[in-house]
Symmetry: C2
Subunit: 274 residues, 2 copies
Amino acid sequence: MPHRRSAFFISDRTGITAESLGNALLTQFDMLEFKRETIPFIDTIEKAEEVARHICARAESDQHQPIVFISVVNAKVRSSLHVEDSALVIDFFDSFIGLLETELGHKATQTVGKSHGIVDNEQYDHRIEAVNFSLNHDDGVKLKDLDEADVILVGVSRSGKTPTCLYLALQYGVKAANYPLTPEDLDSPTLPRILLPFKQKIFGLTIDPQRLHHIRSERRPDSRYASIDNCRREVNEAESMFRHHGVPFISTTHKSIEEIASTILHKTGISRRF
Amino acid sequence: MPHRRSAFFISDRTGITAESLGNALLTQFDMLEFKRETIPFIDTIEKAEEVARHICARAESDQHQPIVFISVVNAKVRSSLHVEDSALVIDFFDSFIGLLETELGHKATQTVGKSHGIVDNEQYDHRIEAVNFSLNHDDGVKLKDLDEADVILVGVSRSGKTPTCLYLALQYGVKAANYPLTPEDLDSPTLPRILLPFKQKIFGLTIDPQRLHHIRSERRPDSRYASIDNCRREVNEAESMFRHHGVPFISTTHKSIEEIASTILHKTGISRRF
């Protein structure tokens, strides 16, 4: 087993920012393996000192010094995370906040809790409303109120519509409905009649037939639904329909949910709602 | 209207990392307003040069120079984003990748597309499975297979269970079911019988009655369901139930969905599934 370097993500809040950038950097070294640990909610000097002891102990037991990503806004808490002698420290706030203070002509507030807009009830309500909209308009269950939708995702069963809608709601507060193209819908190259009034809001998802076959086989092994022939046919017909109507569409095959969602926003020009 | 400084988040992928850290930094200057623009998928020299022209044009029309956050792994693409003369540039990769190369003794691969584990079908499948689990076990709809759950969130109606479950699934691949405490459940301080076998997996959500009253009133104005007296009673009874059974619980009142989710993972010791 190769030796794994320890990597810590230390945050005064959820750790999501520290993980996001830290992992983006570490995956540039994918020839190495890392033992990752996220330590959130480090917002007092006492907690910071305890984390520092934990990291120093790890540094002593490991062959190599740990990498420590720090996203902590309070300068006193940051300086209590004193591990520079035992670890490589990448401190996001320390690195950039001074530059910004100089450029903007103001001191950083050093207040924890603004960075995800957390205490903002209006934002919360907006997100929940979008989530509920997605849940109520999942899989074509409810077709009224579609005029409220920011976007309507259309595609064959298991092309990635539901998780994308939920992600759009949670991450961006965007109201996304979805409509599954059934085998009956696919018999003709025209859009399902119910969608015609909303043609401007439709965005298509497609998927490689082989990948669709794999996904559907997990769900219903050896079914006609999952067969490669049927997957090929459905995907072909769906793409023909999109082309016939000039509906923009993307393939979800090699994309993460984040990528599918941000590509849709990018291509439609819809902007985040909070 | 105060002058708003332009802030750009430039990424070779979704822009989520650049936004996450950039916004964390900018919210430290909440006395100022920013005109934010995210520009994702800048992964070629041509696109980078186009963005550079866009930013330089903005710099000329604005009173102050823009702030530009860059998260781009390819060094050639990064250097084509040559806007240092017209903007304050905060370049995450440029700032840290050299440090990491020295420490780790390897060159960065400069490959776009690993940083969210995107092409990894197994991870995708895992997330989707968790999302489907959440959808199938939302609002106590389906109580079998609860032994598959990593955690079961319990709380009164509108305490934040559903969005938290979905976020746990999407962000962490964690299988989270939820069970709403009905007025009948709350008549007695014992846990609903159906939950007893899973007591170790239960995590409680509570909420300030005033805030609950507000949320429920949006949904069903002037109902008994939404009345402040009823909200107070339900919340009291739910908290008594949690205490009676030693069920850990947190208040969602002043927390974002991210914070609720990461607090649950932190307190239960459940780790991300991908």
